[in-house]
């Protein structure tokens, strides 16, 4: 072929751009495909949880706003020493720092349970992700024991919770008695 020239470079640049666009389009289709599959198979745990959360939040808000409720609810509308009243369910909405969703303050604790992994669903969700599996295996190998012997089925290996004495690799040094 001809020696490199300005025309060649311009042609190359255009071709390169075309190929880049081709690659990007394939990746876009892949991502859309993945999301479509997750949506149709209902694999997005969060979507169901969000709908449930929304339902429970609105229910709680209705209960909070209803003055004709039980005596317990009524007593909470008594004015405090600063002349303020507080609704029985905290209804301020803010962003969860873990999953970045909008959560009602009064429902934050139950949400955190699911979001951070106490509940069965959430810990199953965490177990399903491959990175969680890799982390479990590599940390288990480091500490020299099987991950499945851990008691209450949590997938997090918090430091200091193992019952192995002495040999724990803290900073890489070994203690000789």
């Amino acid at each position: 072929m001809s020696a490199p020239s300005e025309d060649n470079t311009a042609a190359h640049a255009q071709l390169a751009s075309q190929f880049f666009g081709d690659l990007l389009e394939s990746i876009i289709v892949d991502v859309a495909s993945e999301c479509h599959r997750i949506a149709r198979l209902g694999l997005d745990q969060n979507l169901e949880d969000e709908e449930e959360e929304l339902k429970l939040s609105t229910q709680a808000r209705v209960r909070a706003a209803d003055p004709g409720n039980s005596g317990e609810a009524n007593s909470k509308y008594v004015v405090d020493i600063f002349g303020q009243t507080h609704p029985p369910v905290a209804n301020e909405v803010f962003e969860c720092m873990n999953c970045r969703r909008s959560i009602m303050a009064g429902r934050f604790a139950p949400h955190l349970e699911k979001c951070m992994g106490k509940g069965r669903k959430a810990s199953l969700k965490a177990m399903r992700s491959s990175t969680a599996a890799q982390n479990r295996h590599s940390r288990a190998a480091l500490l020299g024991y099987s991950p499945y012997s851990n008691s209450n089925g949590t997938t997090r290996l918090s430091n200091g919770s193992t019952s192995i004495a002495g040999d724990e690799l803290s900073n890489g040094t070994c203690d000789e008695p």
Partner: protein
């Protein structure tokens, strides 16, 4: 130009370079959060329409404009550089 594209496309695939380029681009787009952004666009759309009313074409349509526009310059530059090197190497 189209002919050149086709010829080089074949060379890219036969040499395995296309696969490598694809994986490189995929990796970079994950690292910079682009994929997460696209996924969250999809999830928002699915939430709005209801998960059983969403087609693949819908999602492609939803993320393509933003997807094309939000590739970081550094990522694009890296890939273009790789592609141009390949073009030079095959032209000789």
């Amino acid at each position: 130009m189209q002919e050149a594209f086709e010829i080089i496309n074949v060379k890219l695939m036969e040499s395995g370079e296309k696969e490598r380029l694809m994986e490189l681009l995929r990796e970079r787009l994950i690292e910079c959060g682009w994929k997460d952004e696209m996924k969250s666009l999809c999830r928002a759309y699915v939430k709005k329409k209801g998960r059983n009313n969403v087609t693949l074409d819908d999602l492609i349509y939803v993320i393509t404009p933003k997807g094309r526009a939000s590739v970081p310059d550094s990522v694009k530059a890296e890939l273009l550089q790789r592609i141009r090197s390949f073009l030079v190497s095959t032209s000789l």
